[in-house]
């Protein structure tokens, strides 16, 4: 059920992000969701794309350090408190959220978020039981 995310390691200096976005652009791959986290020394770029395998290979071809990580995609209602309900459910189950970011495309009534936790399937099960719609890779191409 989980969706596959590209995790890309870059050094924290000018030009490293551009190397990544150039590779994705040249391959005509569409970015659906993206986040960047940085420390003083390095950055981690995480993205959900419409063709994860091709994107990974294109990045490797450019000598970029990339790995595929599974994350949870969930639809939350696009109104105040929509995200809060999903996060509360996870928190009350004692599951730690490592990171979370939103999709770039949104539908009329839902916003989509990516959540990374230690135990993806437990989080998915909880969210589904509580009436949330999980996002699949198939959904991503139709977004």
């Amino acid at each position: 059920m989980a969706i596959r995310q590209l995790s890309i390691f870059v050094e924290n200096r000018p030009g490293t992000l551009a190397d990544v976005t150039d590779a994705i652009a040249d391959a005509q791959i569409d970015i659906r969701a993206m986040s960047m986290a940085d420390t003083q020394q390095f950055g981690l770029i995480r993205m959900i794309v419409d063709d994860v395998e091709t994107a990974k290979q294109k990045l490797i071809d450019r000598n970029l350090f990339v790995k595929i990580t599974e994350v949870v995609g969930v639809a939350v209602s696009d109104e105040p408190g929509g995200l809060a309900r999903a996060v509360r459910i996870i928190a009350d189950a004692g599951i730690n959220v490592d990171y979370l970011y939103a999709f770039i495309s949104v539908s009329k009534k839902n916003a989509y978020v990516v959540i990374r936790v230690d135990d993806n399937s437990a989080a998915e099960k909880l969210l589904a039981e509580n009436g949330f719609t999980l996002v699949t890779e198939a959904d991503i191409s139709s977004l």
Binding site: S7, F42, L44, N63, L64, F65, T69, D98, R116
Partner: protein, 438 residues
């Protein structure tokens, strides 16, 4: 003419120094031959007997001792007396992670302390002075050496150790320290913090500082002198020979006088081992004439240096050595600590990393910095920041355990470290652009 701690020796006519050295050398070679199997084997291999050494002119016949020999003979192989006669050890980092341990009898400590007292006296210190020792205390010889020298001199000694700069400054101001001893980079740092706190150079009571254990330039000397309002003196030494005070600077600040009644210095061609005439540049070699517990004969320091014997305005007759101009091997001195790339490599392998790394040394705000770039393997990669920073911290901690100094570790992508002819460039010492020879 200056003040002397032991005038009789410090101003001894050169011919008498040579006679004294000859007499001591004959006894010392016998002592070592009789008590140190490792060196006896070296002599036997070279076909030299103690009776072949009749004086200082025969010194060149003896085999060298290298850092490698100390590593091989670790921990007791060079010990020349019963352990029960020893009162202390000091230690320095050595190649491939094995440390060099030097042993001292009480007589060895007394001799060393006297050498440091000579250095302090040459810097203008006496029994009315307040000497703040801000070198590290512990296995490192810096703190113990100057502390002992200050005691011998009868100065009031503040055994501060290094660090805790606010406390250093508080004691310096409240107790009116007149002499400070530490690494030059720490002296420059104290100067900066004093200025930040609003003190002018004339506000402190310091008149002199003795700075050693790391390379520093004349520019840095002027900088420290201006910031602290003092005269800054250089000091040289190494744990293998005793510690700081093997050589020290006098008021003329034109090189360091070697305590020749205790140590014989030679300059050799590092490739051939041939002894070079005075004034030529080569590797500095020391023979310790009075050491009982850990007596080095012809120990190769790997420091590249020049010796000159000229009449000095201070009245001392001891030969002078210049600041070391470089090293004959890959050892770096970072924050006063000897660092070999192989030590860092050993830690990386031990921690499960590939030996693809780059060491970058720099000096920022007069303090040495150490950055280690390490290539990750695929399995080291995590999409979680906390996992990656934890790995960096763990590696930094492991390197600190080995070296005693903490690097900033940067994990980098595989094959991202520049390679020349297929080999990664191991060390980039940016201090060289500052004119500092390490």
């Amino acid at each position: 003419m200056g003040q002397y701690f032991q005038k009789e020796f410090e101003t001894m006519p050169v011919e008498q120094i040579r006679e004294l050295q000859s007499e001591k050398l004959v006894k010392q070679v016998k002592h070592v031959y009789d008590n140190v199997k490792y060196y006896r084997d070296l002599m036997d291999e070279k076909g030299v007997k103690p009776e072949d050494i009749k004086g200082i002119d025969d010194l060149h016949k003896l085999p060298f001792i290298s850092k490698e020999d100390l590593r091989k003979s670790y921990p007791y192989g060079m010990l020349a007396t019963d352990l029960k006669n020893c009162v202390r050890i000091h230690s320095t980092s050595g190649t491939t992670g094995k440390r060099v341990i030097a042993y001292y009898t009480q007589k060895d400590v007394d001799m060393w302390d006297e050498c440091c007292a000579r250095a302090l006296t040459a810097a203008g210190a006496g029994d009315e002075d307040i000497v703040q020792v801000a070198y590290g205390f512990g296995l490192f010889t810096g703190g113990a050496g100057l502390n002992g020298g200050s005691h011998k001199l009868g100065s009031l000694t503040l055994p501060m150790s290094s660090g805790n700069t606010d406390r250093q400054i508080q004691f310096m101001m409240d107790l009116k320290s007149t002499v400070i001893c530490c690494t030059p980079s720490y002296a420059a740092y104290i100067g900066e913090v004093l200025a930040e706190k609003g003190y002018k150079p004339e506000d402190n009571h310091l008149k002199a500082g003795i700075f050693g254990a790391e390379a520093w330039t004349e520019e840095m000397r002027r900088d420290i002198e201006n910031k602290l309002g003092i005269k800054a003196y250089d000091i040289y030494g190494l744990t293998e020979i005793s510690g700081p005070g093997v050589a020290f600077e006098c008021e003329s600040q034109t090189g360091m006088h070697i305590n020749e009644d205790h140590f014989v210095a030679e300059i050799i061609n590092p490739e051939t081992g041939e002894v070079l005439p005075e004034g030529e540049k080569g590797e500095l070699v020391f023979t310790a004439l009075d050491k009982e517990a850990f007596p080095m004969l012809r120990y190769r320091t790997r420091d590249i240096c020049v010796l000159t014997r000229e009449k000095c305005s201070c009245g001392r007759t001891f030969i002078k050595m210049c600041k070391p101009m470089g090293r004959s091997d890959d050892m770096m001195i970072i924050k006063g600590v000897n660092v070999f790339p192989s030590q860092i490599e050993a830690v990386l392998l031990n921690e499960g990393y590939a030996p693809n790394y780059q060491i970058v040394v720099d000096r920022v705000n007069n303090s040495d910095t150490l950055d280690v770039y390490v290539e990750m393997k695929d399995s080291d990669f995590s999409d979680k920041i906390k996992d990656m920073t934890r790995k960096e911290k763990e590696l930094s901690g492991a390197i600190k355990t080995m070296l005693g100094i903490k690097p900033i570790v940067h994990l980098v992508a595989p094959k991202s470290i520049a390679r020349s002819e297929g080999k990664a460039v191991r060390v980039i010492d940016k201090r060289k652009r500052l004119g500092i020879t390490i």
